[in-house]
Each structure stands twice: as structure tokens, then as C-alpha cells.
Symmetry: D3
Subunit: 139 residues, 6 copies
């Protein structure tokens, strides 16, 4: 009776794609307009998928308010309404959505234990999504 539960969250942030160790030409060539000096931003949509057995007493995989409070405190409270490049977590790390999804997966892996974390999916725009499953194959 293993079930998968996905919950969606939204937050807004800005970023500039730029690697200080590359030349201006390389940065402009790799990142295009995403390398514009003052940055730009997105409404990120975050999907967190966890799995577990359905508890016969509650009928639930886990308490969603627990997941909500971890995501609110550790993810939205840290990345929401921020310029990612200015955060200590992105010192020396290019704030691509791949790297943001990876950080979010690592944080949830460490902080949320009420069910098994399967996957983090981050929509940057309606055209781009990034998924991370801890290096395992995606489920």
C-alpha cells in the first residue's frame, strides 16, 4: 500500500547566471540574456514528492502540515523574495535552477523525515522544469 504524495509551493526570486571564474565573453556565450548584469527573476513552482505506506488509522502517508512547516521555514523563508546571487548558499555556485533544485533536495533530505523524499521538481517558467532525485533514477 505504498503511495506517492506530491505537494506544490510557489515563491518568487531573482538570479543572474554568471560564473566569476569565466571571462565576460564565456559568460555571455553560455548564459545569453540570463547573464544580464542586474539579473532577472521568476515565479518558481516547487513540487515535492514523498512516498510511504498509507497509515491504516489516519488514511494518510504523512502529516502535510509537517512538510509545509519545513518547506515554509527552510525553503520559502530562505529563497523567497531574494536575489539568489546575494545569498551565502550561492557563494561560488551559479544559481541555475539545477543548482537551486539540488540545494532544495538536500535541505529537505536533512530536515524532513516523516516520509521518504522521492523527488523535487522546480518549474522556472511554464517552459522549463528541473528535477532532482538525489542521484537515483527518477520515479
Amino acid at each position: 500500500m505504498k503511495a506517492y504524495l506530491t505537494r506544490r509551493y510557489w515563491f518568487s526570486a531573482s538570479h543572474r547566471l554568471h560564473n566569476d571564474e569565466l571571462s565576460e565573453e564565456e559568460n555571455r556565450s553560455i548564459y545569453g540574456k540570463c547573464n544580464n548584469p542586474h539579473g532577472h527573476g521568476h515565479n518558481y513552482a516547487l513540487e515535492v514528492t514523498v512516498s510511504g505506506h498509507v497509515n491504516p488509522s489516519t488514511g494518510m502517508v504523512c502529516d502535510l502540515t509537517e512538510l509545509d512547516s519545513v518547506v515554509e521555514r527552510e525553503i520559502i523563508g530562505c529563497y523567497g523574495h531574494e536575489h539568489l546571487n546575494a545569498l551565502p548558499q550561492f557563494e561560488g555556485v551559479v544559481p541555475t535552477s539545477e543548482n537551486l533544485a539540488l540545494q532544495i533536495f538536500d535541505i529537505l533530505k536533512r530536515k524532513f523525515h516523516a516520509a521518504h523524499l522521492e523527488r523535487v521538481k522546480l518549474d522556472e517558467t511554464s517552459q522549463n522544469s528541473f528535477q532532482f532525485a538525489g542521484g537515483r533514477e527518477l520515479r
Copy 2:
């Protein structure tokens, strides 16, 4: 030439999350406002994923009208426009979306044989989804 086919359906129902074997305090603590005495409701979105080889003559995995008629008769005809707690299927079972998805998976497994049932996904709101794959890993 194995392909996966997903079809979406919509139905409206209401439920109250409540376990008679637990105290009022436990129910209120576990389910919060979802434990409100008269219940509330949702527009459920159901995604059914089946798989199979593409038939070289028809170019199709299976006849969708067959899937439609099973879902219409066995799922929407049973759960649509109903208060789940009042249905015999939920006697002694808390009508969480996990348990509803599980019942839907079991019904389709028994009644639909034109292709392999892979997965049932039930959106309760735009923020919550529940998936069930018969106990196997999700595909």
C-alpha cells in the same frame, strides 16, 4: 514500441476526514479543518496511465472509449456528486485522497484489461496530488 497513455477525468465530491475510533481531540489534531463536522469538497482531477505496445494496424495503445466507459461507469458514476463518507465503500475507511486513489486503482485493475494499468494520480486541489501504482515503484 511500448508507449504510455494518460487520460484525465474530473469529478466533484465531498468528504469529512474523521476516524470514529479516535477521540474528538485526536481527530481535530490530525485532520484540522478537514475534520469540520459537515465536511467540505473538492473538484478531483483523475489521471489514469496505461501502457502497451502500439498496435501496428490502429496506431493506438488501446481503445480510449473502452477506458472512458469503465471510468464513467465504475468511478465517476460511483464517486461523482457524492459525499464519500456516506458511501458503503468508505464504511470504516477514512475518505482521504490516499484511500480514494487506492480504491480507484483497485477498481480499474479489476475492470480494465485493454492495456496495462500503470498508475492512478488524483489531484485533490491544485496544491495536492496522490499517486498509486499498486505497490510497485512509480513509473
Copy 3:
């Protein structure tokens, strides 16, 4: 420099369409499956449109946190996670989405004064919307 501002909210509730003053046959004929005895439910999406001049100092029509707190307290806190038929506001009133939209418009008209209330739009499902503009032509 008059601008229009629309903000969206979501809440879940259940209802049974039934008028006690009509016969069972009339109720069944008028409301169909929406007359099922135990009710069913929806994820309602509420859009509130207000208008006003853009304040040259703040660049805003009005403070959205003010609108949010009125909607949270007076609308979502009253109708969310409830069975509409069981509420005193619907005693003797059939809880159709037309009547729900009308009540919401009247409440906001009385309680929100930071900008001009133009319109309330209530989505019952992805197929049905109801709008109310206080009897005036819709803008």
C-alpha cells in the same frame, strides 16, 4: 491613471442544491445530480477586482495585505472547509454559486474600503464561472 487590480483566492466547500419549498421531483428536475442528498463539493477559485488611481508615492492602487486580511477573515474563514447548507447565511437560501458570489460581493462591499470594489468572480469548476458586479454592468 485609474487601474484595475485582480487578486485570486482558493477555498474548498461542499453544498447540496435543494429548495425545501419545492417538491422532491421539482428539486431533482432542476438540480439533477447536484440535488444528491448528502451533497458534493468544489475547490472554489475567487477573483476579486478592485479599481482606483495609482498612488504616486507607493505606485499601488491599494495595500493588498488589507484586501487579504478581509478576505481571509470574512470569506475563507466563514465558507472554507464548510458545508454551505449548514451555515446560517444559507438558511432559506439555495447555496448555488450565484448566491455564494452575491453574498461574497455584499460582504466585501461592506468590509473593504481601500479601493472601489468592481467585481467578484467565482469559479465553481474549470467549466463554470459566476460573476457579480452589484447589479451594475460588468466591467
Copy 4:
């Protein structure tokens, strides 16, 4: 035979809501987290509505490629992938979505003449929209 035509565009940008003429306390009080020093961003969705008679020969209100090229050059080419506060257009103007919608309306009014500009609608997030109709009542 007057018809209304709406076309949608998307662009990403960042902004910080801040008025230099107000104190830090006032800014923080008015704009909340939107006043965070390094800004944040959005995927803006822009809807442009124009009207006109349907040309009996072409069956169209106007040539959409003309609207597309004006929007591409004058709107997306100017605001897309930018930090709005760093643009000359927002010198001394708080880059709220009200003010951004107003600027977009004014630009289109001056640059697009193939049909009558009715309305500009700017979605900042899935929860907030701003509309501007040149000071006239909204249609």
C-alpha cells in the same frame, strides 16, 4: 462586426519595491518582503487586447505579426531579463506592476496603430493581475 482580439506574451524580470523619498521604516511597512534590498523577480504574463472591425477580405481584425513585432521590440526587448529598478524608465518611479502596466499601455498606444488598443493586463503571479485601459472604464 466589431471584434476583440487578445494576445498573450511572457517575459521574466526582477524588481525591488522601494521609494527613495520614503524612510526605511515606511518602505518596509508599505512593501514588506517586496522591499528586500536585492530584489526578487517574476514571470510576467502580458495580455494585450485590441479591437476593430473584421476585415471582410482577410477575416481578421489586424495583422498579428505587426502586434508581435511591436511587443517584441518595445516591451520584451526592453523589460525582459532586466532588473526594472536599473532601467532609465523607472528612475524616480517605483517599479510596481501597476506602473509597469501603465508604461506598457503608453508604449503600445504610441507605437501600435493597426487596431484600437483596449486594454493591457499584466499577471505578476498566478494570484495577482493588473489592468490598465488608459484611464477609461475597463472593457
Copy 5:
């Protein structure tokens, strides 16, 4: 107590934008790839808005099953799963979405009388919408 009610429908059709009275060069110049000889297609989304007073007994503006049966018989049954250019209604008429919306408005005006027809909105793609209000200003 005047309310506005909007109902959405979906149908698929194909068309080729081409005016026989214009030269090949003119057709290609006006319609671009939409002039490709064998046509292409869309999932059209149709929104019908009607208005009226809320009936104090039923709590409804009108019986939606009546609107549904007119739309099903007169619109989806005629245009759905068809190549618009091959229909008699489009003999000598370019099947643009403007002209399709106009035909739909006229049909509903003649066939649906349970409430006042306000507006027809036809989404051709997620980027293009066409609205028609019988020549009156849009509401």
C-alpha cells in the same frame, strides 16, 4: 441582482487560412504558415457568457443543461472534429477565428433564449483569444 455566468467548452477542428479571391502571393503574405495548403488545427476553447437576474426560487440565472444542449447540438456537433474550410458555412468565408467566433455568436443568439447572451470568447491557442459581443461594447 443581475449576475453573469460563463461556461467553457472544448472542441478540435482544422482550418486553412486562404481567400480564393486573392493571389497566392497575397495569401502567403497575409496568412504566412497558416496558408499551408493542407491546413492545420487547434483545440478551440469556447467561453459563453450570459446574464440575467438570479431566480429567487432556484438561485440560478438559467438552466445550464439548456445551454449545454444548444452548444452541443449547434456548435460542437457542427464544428467539432471537422475541417472548417469543407463546411458549407465557410463557403466564401475565410475560417479565421474571428469569423468562427462571429458565427458561434449568431447561432447562440438565435437558438438560446433562457438568458441574455453577452459574449462569446474563443481561444485558438494559449496565446490567442477572440471575443465577439454582437457589435456592442464588450462586457
Copy 6:
């Protein structure tokens, strides 16, 4: 540090579901209204999922402009604004969405090498999706 990247594209096309080797009765029975002689059409939404390690220097799985240019040239440039039955690729092949998804997967497998192609998902309507993963289990 393996990540999955999904990018969405949209194109419009038309098709008639018909197999010349079957009788008219068989075609009508199998395909229903999709067998209508002149065809009908859809706004197809294409999701391409690729995987790879996050490049520590760029923070990206691969250069999206490379994927965009392959999809633009090989998929949208070939199938967009076309009647699929009239294309040489569908000579003797019924242009179902299963077969279209299969052709798209094969083209991308041959032409795109900047990351590992995992999956192609093709939405025909908001109710139907088709996925193909090269015969492997879906991820």
C-alpha cells in the same frame, strides 16, 4: 548529481485517423469522429525530458539553446502548421499521437546528443497525453 530537465514546446497540426488497409466500417468503428474525411486538428504540447550530470562550471545539464534549435528545425519546422497525413513520414502510417510521439522520440535520439534523451510526452488535448521512452520503462 544527475538531474532531469524538461522543456515544453507547442505546435499546431491536423490529422485524420484512417488506415487505408481497413474497410470504411472498420475505420469508422475504430476511430469514430477522428475518422471524419477532412480531418481535424490540435494544439500539441511537447515535453522533452533529458538527463545528465550538472556541469560544475556552468551549473547546467546542457545548453538549452542546442535543444531548442534541434526541436525547432527537426520537429516544429516539420510537423507545425501541417496536415500530418500529407507528410511523407506518415505514408502508410496512421498519424495517431502514439505514432507522432514515436517519430519525435526517434528524431531527437538521432539529432540531439548534448544530454541523454529520457522521454517524450505529447499532449494532444488537455485530456490526452502520450509518452514514449524508447521502449524502456518510463522515468
